[in-house]
Amino acid sequence: MAEQLADLLTCPLCGFEFERADSLCGHGCPLGAACNLARCPVCEYEFPEKPASVSWLRRLLGKAEATPPAPCPGDGLLTVKDLSPGDLGEVLSLAGDSPSRRNNLAVFGLIPGSEVRLLQRYPSFVLRIGETVLALDGEVAGDIVVRRRP
């Protein structure tokens, strides 16, 4: 999905970012399918793509590649995370950069303009939209921007 689209190679020598398909490869290279080298189309520097076993080890040792922090809604805006149990809120927008998460929320009726009531915060957030009771974790709750209603 979206994560795979962003799977760009970065040349370690000149810093040029390119897709796997743009890798500059000589014809008749004997390595064939066994090749895991990429060649930068700008400076022609040849470097190994990250081998699977290394990234496996890195994940195991906890040195996962840093993921960019999700854009958070600006100051002064409330999210469901900031409501207290019993509060009623009106959904203003769905933040976050994952379209599939937005759609997953929308199919439960969570769209701008809809009314939600926060039922509890711990151990997980529980919301009520109409007659649907929905459990979600803080990460998702932080993406739902709301305005408190009396």
Binding site: A64, P99, N103, N104, G109, P112, P123, S124, T132, A135
Partner: protein, 665 residues
């Protein structure tokens, strides 16, 4: 119930009779489509009188089920589908549903809706409307809507949408007749199209926003709700079950109830009654006498006094005695009383095969029926009750944070709990999880450390010969293994966990008829699946023993079993058969652990229990992993699980030895 093997089941009459009836009238197809947990399968059952698995949580139906039904002069094929919230092909269920719609262009679509959640249902109605199929909308659970003070203007809704709208309470089979009548009036809904710009990443979301705006207009005209002044008990109970403090109390009560019902009543009282009272005191002596009459060779059976004490359990150490009875009966052990010729040897071979100490009657059947069956029955009964009550999804709220450590989210608790019934069925239910990573990790943990009810039965019987402390140590060790392996694999497998976003169904009083049908269905599956394997396994072991191959194989495994695990070499056979079915391997260990002069010390019982629990459940589970993922994945998991089981078993053994030495000094 969900059968683990065929991809698409057709619980229908033979195809010949179809062709005969198809010649009379063209067969129409009716597709049942709707949001998750709205009662499509119940309606399917009402329309076809065929039972499919029905529960009170989203995601019960993971495959397409078809059956034929006759409405008056017309035959129709009814198709039950997995629940969907959205037709955009992002999830497997939506893809399955889209494929269904495309495969049968002439089909009538019956959309099943939860009347309480009309907004979400109408979102799907508008999506379906864009396909221009003849439709009927069924508003199910009208009783729950009324109980909550809601009203729907059905005539107005029908006018706005342009399709027949039928009310129903599928649980009580109300409204089925009305639906059948409405089927002939099905027509395509009024066309409605939004203006969202196509082919952007946010397109499905933007289009759903537009549809929801339209839905709100429809709702304003047709739907009203007046909140009752105080919530009914079931609603309040539902909130307690999610509460951080009351919910924990609730969880502990459910766990204790399960332990009492399955562990004490099932594994204690019922097993005593069946194993000692029925098999040991009556069936086995009868089988021995019958075999002796048919297969005469000079031998004399020993006799033993068998005492049956039936008691009602209160706690693990307190029980109320009901009655005891002692009978002196023939035991399978015998000595020869004369010379047996060549013919006599053959008779003796058959005799031992049937009623010898490791015979089909004396061992395989008595274990399958007397030890495993009571536990499987009590477990399935209680589990069906829990499933229908709507409690299970509430559990996932409580454990979400713990599961996050394992790269999973609270949703994964559903397959894990199902695994306590049958790991193979549970492996199939992992489909409710969103990402491949979650499905892999859950499948792995199921195969590794979640004992299925058959094995749980044998393990509980083994624990009876240990102290309660050892039982808790075993439980703690299994939970520890799940957390450790889960934590490690969360890091080792690539990918992300999906969002924890789970719809919580209302708590309902379980329908006893449904609970009963479900329990019987699962037992039926169990008997067909497990008992033949038990008998075949016993025969195989018996033959290996007679051909002296068993001792050769045992010698081969000796360094591992005797050296590393510190168990007597006779138990190699148990581990060997454990590769087929781990519960059957456990039966052999149980045999070595109990009896007048047990082969195993308590320390050894514990080590062998831990090792066999961590084995892969059975061949069927292996095949299911291969089907759901790939054969390579299945081999990789087996390649990790079996060595890991021996590793943990050995570590437990050596720590035990060390503790023992340390305590004696």
């Amino acid at each position: 119930m969900i059968s683990p093997f065929p991809a698409e089941r057709r619980p229908s009459r033979s195809s010949e009779s179809f062709r005969a009836s198809a010649g009379r009238q063209p067969v129409s197809t009716v597709l049942l489509i709707g949001n998750p947990n709205v009662g499509k399968s119940l309606l399917f059952k009402n329309l076809t009188h065929r039972y499919v698995n029905v529960s009170n949580f989203p995601g019960t139906t993971v495959e397409v089920t078809r059956a034929r039904s006759a409405f008056g002069a017309k035959d129709a094929e009814i198709v039950d589908s997995p629940g969907i919230n959205d037709l955009s092909p992002r999830s497997d269920e939506a893809r399955v549903t889209r494929a269904l719609l495309e495969k049968s262009p002439g089909a009538t679509v019956v959309q099943v809706a939860d009347a309480k959640n009309l907004r979400r249902a109408l979102l799907l109605t508008l999506q379906l409307a864009e396909m221009g199929r003849p439709m009927v909308l069924v508003l199910n659970m009208l009783d729950e809507l009324r109980a909550r003070g809601g009203r729907i203007d059905r005539a107005e809704l029908s006018r706005v949408l342009g399709i027949p709208v039928v009310g129903a309470v599928a649980l009580r089979n109300e409204g089925t007749g009305e639906l059948v009548e409405a089927l002939s009036q099905a027509r395509p809904p009024h066309a409605w199209h939004g203006q969202a710009e196509p082919s952007t990443a946010d397109e499905p979301y933007e289009r759903n926003r537009e549809r929801l705006a339209r839905v709100n207009d429809i709702l304003a005209a047709t739907w009203s709700m007046s909140q009752p002044s105080h919530a009914p008990l079931s609603v309040r109970l539902g909130f307690w079950a999610m509460h951080p403090v009351k919910g924990l109390f609730f969880l502990l009560s459910v766990l204790f109830l399960t332990f009492w019902f399955v562990g004490l009543l099932g594994a204690g009282t019922l097993v005593d009654l069946l194993e000692t009272g029925l098999f040991h005191q009556r069936v086995t002596p009868l089988a021995i006498r019958a075999a002796d009459a048919v297969l005469p060779f000079p031998h004399v059976h020993e006799t033993e006094a068998v005492e049956l004490a039936v008691a009602l359990p209160v706690t693990p150490i307190h029980e109320v005695g009901i009655f005891t009875s002692t009978r002196t009966v023939t035991s399978p052990a015998y000595h020869l009383s004369g010379k047996t010729g060549a013919g006599g040897e053959i008779l003796r071979f058959v005799h031992d095969l049937l009623v010898g100490p490791y015979g089909a009657f004396t061992m395989a059947l008595s274990y399958a029926f007397a030890i495993v069956l009571p536990i499987v029955t009590t477990f399935f009964l209680l589990f069906s009750l829990l499933e229908d009550s709507g409690y299970l999804p509430r559990m996932s709220i409580l454990v979400n944070r713990i599961f996050k450590l394992m790269g999973l989210n609270g949703k994964a608790v559903l397959p894990m709990i199902l695994g306590l019934g049958c790991d193979t069925m549970a492996t199939m239910t992992t489909r409710i999880l969103e990402t491949r990573k979650e499905r892999l990790v859950t499948t792995m943990l199921l195969a590794l450390a979640v004992p299925c009810s058959a094995q749980l039965g044998v393990l509980l019987a083994m624990m009876a010969s240990l102290s309660p402390g050892a039982a808790f140590a075993w439980l703690g060790l299994m939970v520890g293994v799940v957390l450790l392996v889960g934590w490690l694999s969360a890091r080792a497998f690539p990918g992300e966990a999906g969002d924890f976003l789970l719809e919580i169904p209302p708590m309902r009083r379980p329908q006893l008829a449904n609970v009963w049908i479900k329990t019987v269905g699962r037992l039926d599956w169990y008997l067909k699946e497990v008992i033949p394997l038990f008998v075949v396994g016993t025969l195989a072991l018996f033959l290996l023993d007679r051909l002296h191959l068993l001792s050769a194989l045992s010698r081969f495994g000796e360094p591992l079993v005797t050296g590393w695990l510190g168990l007597p070499k006779e138990t190699s056979a148990a581990f060997l058969i454990g590769f087929l079915r781990r519960d059957f391997g456990a039966v052999y260990l149980l045999d070595a652990a109990t009896g007048p002069n047990p082969l195993l010390t308590p320390h050894q019982i514990f080590v062998s229990m831990v090792t066999i629990t961590l084995f892969m459940p059975c061949i069927a589970n292996f095949l299911m992993i291969a089907r759901e993922h790939s054969l390579k994945t299945a081999w990789a998991m087996a390649g990790f699980i079996f060595p890991f089981a021996f590793l943990v078993g050995g570590i437990v053994h050596h720590i035990g030895l060390w503790l023992n030495n340390w305590l004696t000094f």
